[in-house]
């Protein structure tokens, strides 16, 4: 075992290993900051380039690309309010608010440090608990998934605390939008109104780009000036790093949450970053400070989604069940390299498996170094005039819309949701709820239908397992909590002072 580890370590730290690690990291970071291009795109695009590499270097390259890509998404989320990847959506809420106050350096420090720590904990979980966590994930039946998805939806009440009804309205709208297209179980059409484009459903990426990127361009054009309202960047990346260590309990609990959610197939970083953000908001003594530049609003999702990155690979490598789309591509990669997932992957392909794990570990430090040294330069983006930023965001929104499927109608979706997002922003509608509904919609529906098929139409299946029962109880509790009048008011004076 020790020999295998040392062999893998020397492989990663060799010139060739470091070259593949850095190359993958730089490419991943570049793809991560570009809206519309996520880790799935990056890993899939560069998979064929690894065929000529030895398996260990190919996996090292892909692992580094994946990890750095997920972190890269948070850079534009913080600086421009545009999540580079769907896994960074909630980072926008507080990270961008900090940038608007001229604290982009602090926000970048928060995101890079929490991402690194979350990532390291995720890698440790992958190395130590892979088989154990994978076994836990297998205990989830479709009815449990359904309860988990409804529990996620009940988080709408947390996201929209104080305005629960409007939050629920957008949450339901999000789930309904996710049902548009062909029903995968029966082949029947839903809400297509004879429009061929709608048969494939409304794609998620253009919706997210419209809601977050384009709507920000409209707001920025309307307000003029620059993102940083004070016209300067105050507070450095160091302040952000210190704050992360000061909130070490938040970091730890969100890293664990990321690991747990990561191993459950189908959950992935998109849902994990929402869950982490909403849990943190729920457990905060001042939930109203979230969305107004609360550092915990950056720390929680960034820690969780980076922990999830490695944890997502656990069921793929340990059981051959991909936890998400990116894990599925990794699974394809190890098959192409002639390796088999499961116990054999760790036993037979020992050095290769541990090269990947150690590579994932070092990739955390790679993006941390780039993030730390680049943060003060990246932060200057918030001082660029709106006259330059607005057309740049429009151009990136156009590219982000058309990148995935080369369909011009996807760009129209970006436009429609851009206007929708702008109206929501102006009227203080919680956009997070719409996105949450959209992400969880397929999980709700697939498992709802599958459970009913398994039980021949009996709804009792939803309350048969202890996991389901526990989740339903928490769901009902969250909804009741959300609908109760807010007695805490609009944040404490201390908190206002701290965050203004």
């Amino acid at each position: 075992m020790l020999e295998t580890l040392l062999s893998a370590l020397s492989m990663v730290l060799s010139m060739k290993g470091l070259f593949h690690l850095v190359l993958g990291g730089v490419i991943g970071l570049t793809i991560g900051v570009l809206p519309g291009l996520g880790p799935v795109f990056g890993v899939a695009l560069f998979l064929p380039f690894t065929f000529w590499m030895p398996a260990e270097y190919g996996l090292l390259f892909l692992g580094s690309l994946y990890v750095c890509c997920v972190y890269g998404g948070s850079i534009t989320a913080v600086l421009l309010g545009i999540p580079g990847t769907p896994g960074s959506i909630t980072t926008v809420f507080d990270g961008y608010e900090l940038s608007k106050r001229g604290k982009a350096g602090v926000a970048l420090g928060l995101s890079v440090t929490s991402s690194m720590i979350g990532g390291i904990i995720g890698v440790v979980a992958l190395a130590l608990f892979a088989p154990l966590l994978a076994e836990f994930a297998l205990k989830f039946a479709p009815a449990d998934y359904c309860a988990l998805a409804f529990f996620g939806l009940s988080m709408v009440a947390v996201a929209a605390r104080g305005d629960t009804l409007r939050g629920l309205m957008l949450g339901v709208l999000g789930v309904l939008i996710s049902t548009i297209g062909v029903d995968l179980f029966t082949g029947g059409y839903r809400f297509t109104f004879g429009i061929e484009y709608l048969e494939g459903g409304i794609p998620f990426i253009p919706v997210a780009i419209g809601l977050f990127a384009l709507s920000q361009a409209f707001v920025l054009a309307e307000e003029g000036g620059q993102i940083s309202k004070p016209g300067k960047v105050t507070g450095g990346v160091r302040e952000g790093i210190v704050q992360v260590f000061r909130h070490w309990i938040t970091v730890l609990k969100n890293a664990i949450l990321g690991c747990i959610l990561g191993v459950i197939p189908g959950v992935g970083i998109n849902i994990t970053n929402f869950m982490a953000y909403l849990f943190e908001k729920r457990s905060s003594r001042h939930p109203d400070s979230f969305g107004r530049g609360n550092p915990l609003g950056v720390i929680a999702p960034e820690t969780a989604n980076n922990a999830c990155v490695s944890a997502e690979l656990i069921p793929a490598f340990a059981l051959g069940i991909p936890g998400g789309a990116t894990a599925a591509i990794f699974l394809a990669a190890i098959n192409i390299y002639g390796l088999r997932p499961g116990y054999a992957f760790f036993a037979d392909a020992g050095p290769i498996a541990y090269t990947l794990i150690i590579g994932l570990f070092f990739a955390q430090f790679l993006f941390f170094i780039i993030g730390i040294f680049g943060a003060n330069y990246f932060a200057k983006v918030t001082l660029v005039p709106a006259a330059i930023l607005v057309p740049a965001i429009l151009a990136l929104s156009f590219i982000g819309g058309i990148a995935d499927r080369s369909l011009f109608l996807d760009v129209i979706v970006v436009l429609i949701f851009g206007v929708f997002g702008y109206i929501c922003h102006k009227n203080n509608y919680p956009i997070a709820c719409l996105i949450l509904g959209l992400i969880l919609g397929p999980l709700v529906e697939d498992n709802f239908t599958r459970s009913l098929q398994m039980s021949h139409g009996s709804f009792s299946i939803f309350i048969e397992s202890p996991i389901s029962i526990s989740l339903w109880i928490i769901t009902i509790g969250a909804l009741i909590w959300g609908l109760l009048p807010d007695r805490k008011g609009f944040g404490s004076p201390e908190e206002q002072k701290e965050h203004d």
Binding site: T30, I31, L34, L37, L45, L165, R166, L168, M169, L170, V172, L173, V175, L176, T179, D183, F185, T186, G188, Y189, R190, F191, F193, L214, A217, F218, L220, A221, E222, E223, G224, G225, A386, A387, I388, V390, P391, A392, L394, A395, L396, F398, I399, I402, A403, S406, F408, V411, I412, L415, G418, Y422, I423, K426, N427, N428, Y429, V444, E445, F448
Partner: protein
């Protein structure tokens, strides 16, 4: 942003209209579920659309009651900056975005982005010609080469398709 106490809040405003439109959208979707044949196809969407209608009506009722009582304070979107610091009306931004997206398809991404940067710089009162021209040339070229050459994204090349070297 300044906070001030408002006189009785009006019921009909953009917020109400927006909520009403979403509620009407739920209603349309609810009616559309009746054209679906299979139970599992329409069950969840119908339940969701009905829930949406109920929530939408509740949102409107709450708004009506609050406006009737005139008890709520609200953040006004008042802007106390001098008028020369203000940007572009959102109507024109949306209009320009539509024009940009459509032209990008036919004229090509690079040429349209070049024009967009010039137009927005003019409308948002950026006067440094060197910066404007530099950004207008460099940004489209960098984005085009990055996405088309490296990442193999299909961007419309439009009328420049025959002269582009990459």
């Amino acid at each position: 942003m300044k906070i001030e106490r408002q006189s009785p809040k009006r019921f009909i405003d953009t917020d109400t209209i927006f909520s009403a439109i979403i509620t009407a959208f739920f209603l349309v979707l609810f009616c559309a579920t009746f054209s679906m044949q299979e139970v599992s196809t329409y069950l969840l969407p119908r339940v969701l659309a009905a829930t949406g209608i109920i929530i939408g009506v509740a949102v409107l009722l709450v708004k009506f009651v609050r406006s009737h009582r005139s008890m709520q304070d609200s953040d006004t979107k008042g802007d106390d900056r001098p008028s020369e610091d203000r940007g572009l009306s959102v109507f024109y931004t949306v209009l320009l975005t539509v024009i940009y997206f459509v032209l990008a398809k036919y004229l090509g991404f690079m040429l349209t982005t070049f024009i967009a940067i010039i137009v927005f710089s003019f409308l948002l009162r950026l006067r440094n010609k060197v910066v404007i021209v530099s950004v207008a040339v460099i940004l489209p070229v960098v984005l085009h080469s990055l996405f088309v050459t490296l990442l193999k994204v299909n961007l419309p090349e439009g009328i420049l398709s025959s002269v582009l070297p990459f």
